[in-house]
Symmetry: C2
Subunit: 349 residues, 2 copies
């Protein structure tokens, strides 16, 4: 039986909080039956999230015809299940639906959900659950597998989407490329990966290195970035990822107009040039690594403004710049292939 999803975003259907929903709709549209948010019923996901075309927003589980799985579609800070969602989750279980979640609070640790799931013969899947105990060793890395990491000036700026779009485009050009998912949504999209923000701190780099070693028979790995080196709350995840992935090249992702750090809005985001400098320094401790392009997320501005910003950043940084959704990823794909052709990176490790 194939997976037919109804995505729960009740009360949270906006592009920022419902980023799991947005990305599943973007990359797994054929599996999605409806979005569930009684406060927005009657609209489409295109209206609210900018993706999905005529995919409906419904007010009741019963209106999601044919759905067999409830996916929790938000990524709140700290990853907690909103209290008001309990009844909806229990109703879905009673309707014999499987539940799929990526939160820090595990469904499978909740006695009420576990008992209900057993009674109804359905599964509770916590994508963030892991038992990672691998320490990074920096041994056995294939010298001619190009590792590219997306990095960012903040969390939730489009590192996952950029990584997926780059991987798709590289494959379309005949490259043996693989997307390395490091967050719950990326894992749901790709079908494999590791939720590194949920790994015990000592093993973050090791869990990333393990994925690299597993997939380095590909010629290019595009590794999904997490957080930001300048984020006061999540920089541990970011640096562990950077040192576990040991990228030869990086793509810097940023959102046009964002100037405060998500979750700590009283702290300003430094200029992009500064963030590039910090990433290059921390990535280049044992081998050279540099930012080779900029992925701008221009969803909050119009086409003219996006074009002006693109030119401004190109001129300021001397790097290729594009919005992988608005402009397509070709300019960054060209940059990756040009970098790959230089061969100098193979001497690194």
């Amino acid at each position: 039986m194939s997976r037919k999803l109804v995505i729960l975003t009740e009360g949270h259907t906006n592009p920022h909080t419902a980023k799991t929903a947005s990305c599943i709709i973007r990359y797994r549209r054929d599996e999605v039956v409806a979005l569930l948010d009684a406060t927005q019923a009657g609209k489409t996901t295109q209206d609210l999230l900018g993706v999905g075309g005529d995919l409906p927003v419904v007010s009741k589980l019963g209106e999601a015809d044919g759905a067999n799985t409830l996916l929790l579609g938000i990524a709140p800070p700290g990853g907690k299940i909103p209290a008001s969602w309990r009844a909806i989750i229990l109703e879905a279980i009673a309707k014999k639906m499987n539940i799929l979640a990526g939160l820090h609070d595990f469904l499978s640790d909740d006695p009420e959900f576990v008992a209900a799931a057993e009674k109804n013969g359905v599964t509770l899947t916590d994508v963030r659950k892991n038992a990672e105990r691998t320490i990074a060793r920096r041994v056995g890395l294939r010298s001619d597998c190009l590792r590219v990491l997306t990095v960012g000036h903040d969390c939730s700026v489009g590192k996952m989407v950029t990584s997926v779009e780059l991987t798709h485009a590289l494959k379309a050009r005949g490259q043996a490329a693989k997307f390395i998912a490091t967050g719950q949504t990326g894992i749901m999209v790709e079908g494999d990966g590791c939720p590194i923000d949920r790994v015990i701190a000592d093993f973050v780099s090791g869990s990333v290195e393990k994925m690299i070693l597993e997939h380095q028979h590909n010629d290019i790995l595009i590794v999904e970035g997490q957080g930001s080196l300048i984020h006061p709350s999540y920089s541990a995840v970011t640096l562990g990822l950077l040192h576990g992935a040991l990228p030869h090249a990086m793509v810097m992702c940023y959102e046009v107009g964002r100037d405060c750090i998500t979750g700590v809005e009283h702290v300003k985001i430094p200029p992009l040039a500064k963030i590039i400098q910090l990433n290059e320094m921390m990535a280049s401790i044992t081998q050279a690594s540099r930012v080779i392009g900029i992925a701008m997320n221009s969803r909050r501005v119009n086409a003219d403004e996006a074009e002006q910003e693109r030119e401004r950043v190109r001129a300021e940084l001397g790097l290729p710049v594009c919005d992988v959704i608005r402009h397509g990823p070709d300019e960054l794909v060209d940059a990756i292939l040009a970098f790959k052709a230089t061969d100098g990176w193979k001497a690194g490790e």
Copy 2:
């Protein structure tokens, strides 16, 4: 009933692997009855670890007169219990001893240990166990509590010992200072703290910030560093700690003669000046922070060599330098108090 410890280091009694044992002996000598290592029985801990005077190394639990607690005294990479130790731990439990451990493998997750402990009415304490779920918010930090973080060029170079010695010396000079323990040994020494390398990556900075908020009624917090920003395996822990502690000043700890990274010995440690630069850059994103002194660990060299090295590093970096054990911590304490007196740091946050 007061705690009387026998410390288990069977087969691992050297200053590097048995660093938990060394530090407990150094700072909790009055609680320790003996060290247990049948391969070294008859020697003293002073012979093997350089601390403890005539504290005996015994070959059997029965020789540790009056001990009521077995402490597992090593800190191996990955934090696993050596397989050969199971029988010793079970024997201690059968002798009605409590067990105290700081490993990643929890005694309290092991059905055989749990059953034996229940049967014998003893406790299993896993110092690394935690349920941290706090996200760093950068809100509520007291502007006139000076935060000093020990940082390092590698793991296991003496950040904990430096932090404890600095705190003791500051208190002796009448300062309201507090040691903030962030690792299992520091917690055993201080009696409180958080084992941040065992915290889920998303919550590392938050768990540190929580301790800062709890103890900032003191005038000076000396925060125990972990790992190194340049360590390929553990840098996630280090950066999360740096951003959670948001130090005004840092003390750089290094071991004389160490040139390869612990656990990844094929990777060279960069020069100290470079590591200071990286730490200052990553610490100064939102407020200025700088390294104000160097704690050298000179245990592998003689007094003359230590003095030469001290002069060399002083001249190279223009900073106060001392080995807090060999020379005492006064030079670094002077540097902290001089920095505190400048007042400029209070404008930071």
